[in-house]
């Protein structure tokens, strides 16, 4: 089935309405119109899918019946994002206009910091691997990994040379070998040239099967940010020697969500990356997240892209749960992005990019024709520039995977403490105001620093 249960109804009015509904429209509320529009769009998706699979009317009808629950859930549950936006208590947007003016000073400060914290254990084999990673064809565009060597500035995009996560500081020690990372999302392209060799398990939590193939897959992009291998193609993940447990989850119920987490744990995942949220997490799911925490599994959730505070009354998001790491987004300017949701329970920010202000972060797209056409002229259609806390989260998950690689006994509590304690305090030259605990309202504990985090994780090893 098509990807319906992840929020899919844009409500953009792009689809023509059915004539039989037109009389009713004038009496409906805007919300009802939006829901109706969603039904029309989903009906068309379902019909297109069923007609592509079957030729007889009776089989098409059965196929459409099977879609019905999914369509109802998708459209009837769709409005949660609007609710979050309406609950916003503080939407002031960070201006990026003056960022060039403080780059020089930032560069100097960060250069000193990173030099002091870089590990000196680079051995020849590690150096060779780093060299190979940097030789990946599109590494030069992967500013989230190495901004100082990005050539995007020469292409007209403003990239702060410290906007990356200092991954090379970690790669001198590990590239994540021996660690299993799960991504729970809408599926993945298991045949993608830059992913397949690192997919250990593909599991469909909805069906119990192995088919997780999805078009326009969000999960595919997320997985690539973690484990895209060093293979002479495209990009490289943050933790390219880790292995992926790719879990497809579209059913909207708490029970299936819990099943997906259980599967990941039982199959050895030490890190679980979730680039989604409901703004309304259930007690049973929280209980499962606590259980994973106690079992030594670190779970990460994206904070969301509305640029709002999650501390607003009524917002109870997965990313705020005590037992997970809540991740917001930093941008090409080495500061928090305008769209990144924030709040007292969000822990960290990591590159998510901003396609409107700059170019976004470079990740995997679908292979071949179903990939989005590249508008930058820099990459082929198997890759894309995108933005969102969705991508900040797997980038952080990759760092966590490397922490487990150097210290398999590290606990989720230690992971969170290290990530936040070693973070780079970005935005000081703007309106950042880190308190005594090192916390800033919009930037949490700062931007992840892979090198520092991995060094510290190894240092505390018993």
């Amino acid at each position: 089935m098509a990807t319906l249960l992840f929020s899919a109804c844009g409500g953009d009015g792009s689809t023509e309405k059915r004539s039989s509904l037109s009389e009713e429209n004038s009496t409906r509320t805007p919300r009802e119109n939006k829901v109706e529009q969603c039904f029309i769009q989903m009906d068309e998706i379902a019909l297109e899918d069923c007609e592509s699979k079957y030729t007889t009317d009776s089989k098409i009808d059965v196929c459409l019946d099977e879609y019905e629950d999914e369509i109802l859930d998708t459209c009837m549950l769709e409005e949660s994002q609007d609710t979050l936006l309406n609950n916003d208590d503080n939407t002031d947007i960070i201006s990026d206009d003056e960022w060039w003016s403080w780059i020089k000073e930032q560069e100097e400060n960060n250069a000193i910091d990173e030099e002091e914290n870089r590990d000196d254990k680079d051995e020849s084999t590690a150096t060779n691997t780093i060299t190979e990673a940097k030789a990946e064809p599109y590494f030069k565009y992967a500013w989230h990994l190495d901004a100082s060597n990005s050539i995007l500035n020469s292409k007209g995009y403003k990239i702060n040379e410290h906007a990356d996560i200092n991954v090379t500081g970690a790669w001198g020690i590990t590239m994540g070998a021996g660690v299993k990372v799960a991504v729970i999302d809408d599926g993945a392209d298991v045949n993608h040239e830059d992913l397949k060799s690192n997919i250990l398990i593909a599991y469909n939590a909805d069906t119990g099967g192995e088919n997780i193939q999805t078009k326009e897959s969000h999960g595919n992009t997320c997985a690539g940010f973690i484990v895209a291998p060093i293979n002479g193609k495209g990009i490289v993940g943050v933790s390219p020697e880790s292995k992926m447990i790719a879990i497809k989850l579209e059913d909207s119920s708490d029970a299936y969500t819990i099943r997906a987490f259980e599967y990941a744990k039982k199959h050895g995942a030490k890190v679980i990356s979730c680039s989604w949220g409901s703004n309304n997490v259930s007690d049973a799911v929280v209980s499962e997240l606590k259980s994973l925490y106690n079992a030594g599994v670190t779970v990460l959730f994206a904070s969301g892209n509305e640029g709002v505070s999650l501390d607003a009354q009524g917002t109870n998001d997965e990313s705020e749960v005590e037992w997970v790491i809540g991740v917001g987004a930093s941008g090409e300017n080495n500061d928090v992005t305008r769209y990144s949701n924030y709040g007292k329970n969000i822990d960290i920010i990591a590159p998510g990019g901003d396609t409107q202000e700059a170019i976004g972060v470079l990740g995997l797209d679908d292979m071949g024709e179903s990939g989005y056409p590249d508008e930058t002229g820099l990459i082929n259609n198997n890759y894309l520039f995108a933005n969102g806390t969705s991508f900040s989260t797997p980038i952080t998950a990759g760092v966590v995977a490397m922490m487990y690689a150097v210290n398999p006994n590290i606990t989720p509590k230690q992971v969170k403490e290290i990530l936040t304690a070693t973070a780079t305090k970005v935005g000081k030259e703007k309106n950042a105001s880190y308190d005594e605990q090192g916390f800033d309202k919009k930037r949490a504990y700062g931007k992840i620093n892979a090198g520092r985090a991995v060094v510290e994780a190894e240092r505390i090893k018993i």
Binding site: F6, S80, N87, I258, S291
Partner: protein, 133 residues
């Protein structure tokens, strides 16, 4: 006349039981009916899922199943055995999913379970949208 009939017809909304609630983190989550157009309402008549809104505007769907976790060191199957449950299945070491017969109100049943001192969590198996981020 035709116009009046149409307006009356369109004014009909699907009224789902008001005043339902479940417990989350020790607090009551009050739910209200979901009003939908006649077209959608008629389509939902055969749906297994009923849709509600919370006081903060979140949409949820429920069916006839409930998630339950008992307090530590309690045999949850034994605790649940005194209730009229049609099906029970263990999701995790501590979380169970139970089904109740369709003639029972899933909220009332969950509330009753929640009131049991041996039960820590009891709420309908909530259906909600996971927004990609």
């Amino acid at each position: 006349m035709k116009k009046q009939i149409i307006i009356s017809f369109l004014g009909l909304t699907l009224l789902i039981n008001a005043g339902e609630f479940y417990y989350s983190n020790g607090n009551k989550v009050e739910l209200s009916k979901v009003e939908v157009s006649q077209t959608i309402g008629s389509r939902m008549l055969n749906s297994r899922t009923k849709y509600y809104k919370t006081a903060t505007g979140k949409s949820i769907g429920v069916r006839d199943d409930i998630l339950v976790e008992c307090v530590a060191n309690k045999d949850c199957k034994e605790v649940l055995s005194k209730y009229e449950i049609t099906e029970i299945s263990q999701l995790t070491d501590s979380i169970y999913i139970i089904k109740i017969s369709s003639d029972k109100n899933v909220f009332e049943f969950a509330q009753k379970l929640y009131g049991d001192n041996n039960i820590k969590i009891a709420h309908p198996n909530l259906r909600k949208i996971r927004n990609r981020r």
